[in-house]
Amino acid sequence: MSEKISNRKKNTMYIPFLGDIAVSTGRTLLGIALGLLASAILIMISGVNPLAAYASLLNGAFGSPQAFSNVLVRASPLLLGGIAVSIGVKTGVWNTGIEGYMYIGAIGATLVGVHNLGLPPVLHILLCVLAAVILAGLWGAIPGYLRAYKGVNEVTSTIMLNYVAIYLTNWLVSDVTGLADKGAFYPMSLPLADSACLPILMKGTSLHPGPFLGIAVCLVFFFVINYTAFGYRTRMIGSNPFAAKYAGANSRRQIMTMIVLGAMIGGLSGAIETMGLKYRLYMDFVTGVGYESVAVALLAGGNPISVILAAFFFAALKAGGATMSIETGVASSMNSIIIAMCMLFVIGVGIVDSRRTRKVVSTDKTSSSTSKETEEA
């Protein structure tokens, strides 16, 4: 279902002319501006001067090197989550399971990380990441298989699996001997061994290598999607499944691959959050990042380079928003309202105008019906 519309969305990404870029960027910026305006009204209703609130937000995001390093830290899961969703969008699937993958990845990293294996840090870290990526990949294979071969809508299945992952984490960190820190005030795992923790890059902050890795992953996928045969197949399946089928591309396998790849990136993101920032596995440690990743991918239009910009925009909103809620007393949940408001306006303003490619996907059962529709059209 979703793929049909996502193709329409994608039409705006096709961008053959500079004018189109200007129009779509302009629309996005207009949407963001309207979203910020609407949020300002909400902030005003909640009894705070919106100008003061936004000033505090800006200051909290860019006011000092520490503040900016905070933005970078918050950008890390958004970069990885955003790119994970984006590569799915390229094949026409909405991989909304980032939250679950992050939990599973963090579990993988923690399982390997809590034990002092006597390894040098580089090796231990790599081992943790490997465990995270493999576990998350296996986890992602479930919705991937269901979507590609059984036609189960990936949005529903991944969101259901998110809840399963959350409860699995709850159990691991509150009950399991050797992993859970049982006397703790809040369900959490034992601390990771020193050799499994990522280094801090800047004294006095919590800046870890995650954001730079995130940018690197985005760049890698930019090249993979745009300049390799694999990427070409991906884009072809996403934008014109019929042509792809005709050309002999195996769209089922490709869709499965993209969901699993997204899951692996999500797992990596969870591992980095654990090893670079929290140093333990906490219950409920990723609330909301899953949806925010979808917002990042949407704002970026699925384009890996734009993911970097979008992730930083949201990270600045989140980091600054935290400061804003401390300094001005706006509710801390206002953060996600601002993000969602911007997104709603971006969606509302950015109407899909071009209809160059016709929708349709051939993997699930909608294929038969939609193909008829296209033939009629």
Partner: protein
């Protein structure tokens, strides 16, 4: 497992299915009209909050219901505007709606600390004590709040509207072939709006049932716990038929009720695994049934009047 445990479980099944069935009532029509309203999760959350707020501040269930319907109406209009008039991606619109509703309910709830600890008035049980004491059917049916009874009746109303009225026929036709409908002089856009707004209102009411049927308070941070998504799965599994979808909701409700009971049963299996149960049941049901359902032909696709 003793007999009384089973009765208790069945009773809870009805109670936990009621919100799902109410939400599904509207969602079935929206999806039949071709629009997947994924925002029902968030709208449900909003309804859960407004129900409690109405009951707390005005001490009247009627006011609570009125506010809830209004909120559902407004959010339904928002979703339909974005997905129908602006032809936005339905998945994305829904997810962003959920995000905004989660944030908004948390914010509003944090502004009213006084209602936090109080348990508000809940939907009344209308049958006399004598009837409630009848073995088996007494606790099972007559001790249920009025909301459960409504949930038991509306699927049949939904079935009647869907298959026996002109409006229902039009809704089904619009979802299957909007172009022909437009040719036949039916206003596709208006019907889609009506269906999606209906789903918004009933999603809010379903949230209201969730809080006001039994618990009587709201809790921040995602109180609906994915029930909106479960309803969407129920629509697929139930083949977008009001009655069958409600039966599927009963199954999911049963899983929910069983989960709560097993959690406190002190078994060797950790309770978190029982908490996963409703979600796992949903995935399994989807996998088994998805091929058998007949999808509305333009399910999830935007309708462009210029398309021929």
């Amino acid at each position: 497992m003793s007999f009384s445990v089973i009765i208790d479980w069945l009773q809870a099944t009805l109670r936990w299915s009621a919100p799902l069935i109410v939400v599904a009532f509207g969602e079935v029509f929206a999806e039949r009209a071709g629009v997947i309203n994924m925002g029902i999760e968030g709208i449900m959350m909003f309804g859960a909050l407004t129900g409690v707020m109405g009951a707390f501040y005005f001490n009247s269930l009627w006011v609570a219901l009125l506010i809830t319907v209004l909120v559902g109406l407004v959010l339904g209009i928002l979703v339909s505007f974005l997905t129908i008039s602006r032809r936005a991606n339905q998945v994305v619109t829904g997810l962003m709606m959920n995000m905004i509703c989660l944030g908004a309910t948390d914010t509003i709830f944090s502004l009213m600390p006084e209602s936090r600890q109080t348990r508000v008035q809940t939907f009344p049980v209308i049958f006399p004590k004598v009837m409630q004491n009848i073995p088996v059917i007494g606790p099972l049916f007559f001790a249920q709040p009025i909301s459960t009874w409504i949930a038991l009746v509306i699927p049949f109303i939904g079935g009647y509207i869907m298959y026996r009225t002109r409006w229902g026929l039009n809704i089904r036709a619009v979802g299957d072939n909007p172009q022909s409908c437009a040719t036949a002089g039916i206003s596709v856009i208006r019907l889609k709006y009506q269906a999606v707004i209906l789903s918004g209102i009933f999603a809010a009411l379903g949230g209201c049932v969730l809080t006001l049927a039994e618990v009587g308070y709201f809790s921040a941070g995602g109180m609906t716990g994915g029930r909106g998504f479960i309803v969407m799965a129920a629509c697929v599994v139930g083949g977008w038929d009001p009655i069958r979808t409600s039966l599927v909701c009963l199954i999911f409700g049963a899983a929910d009720a069983a989960q709560l009971r097993m959690q406190s049963a002190n078994s060797i299996i950790p309770y978190q695994f029982f908490q996963m149960l409703p979600y796992l049941v949903t995935i399994v049901a989807l996998t088994l049934m998805v091929k058998k359902s007949r999808v509305p032909k333009t399910w999830g696709a935007a309708y462009d009047p210029k398309d021929v």
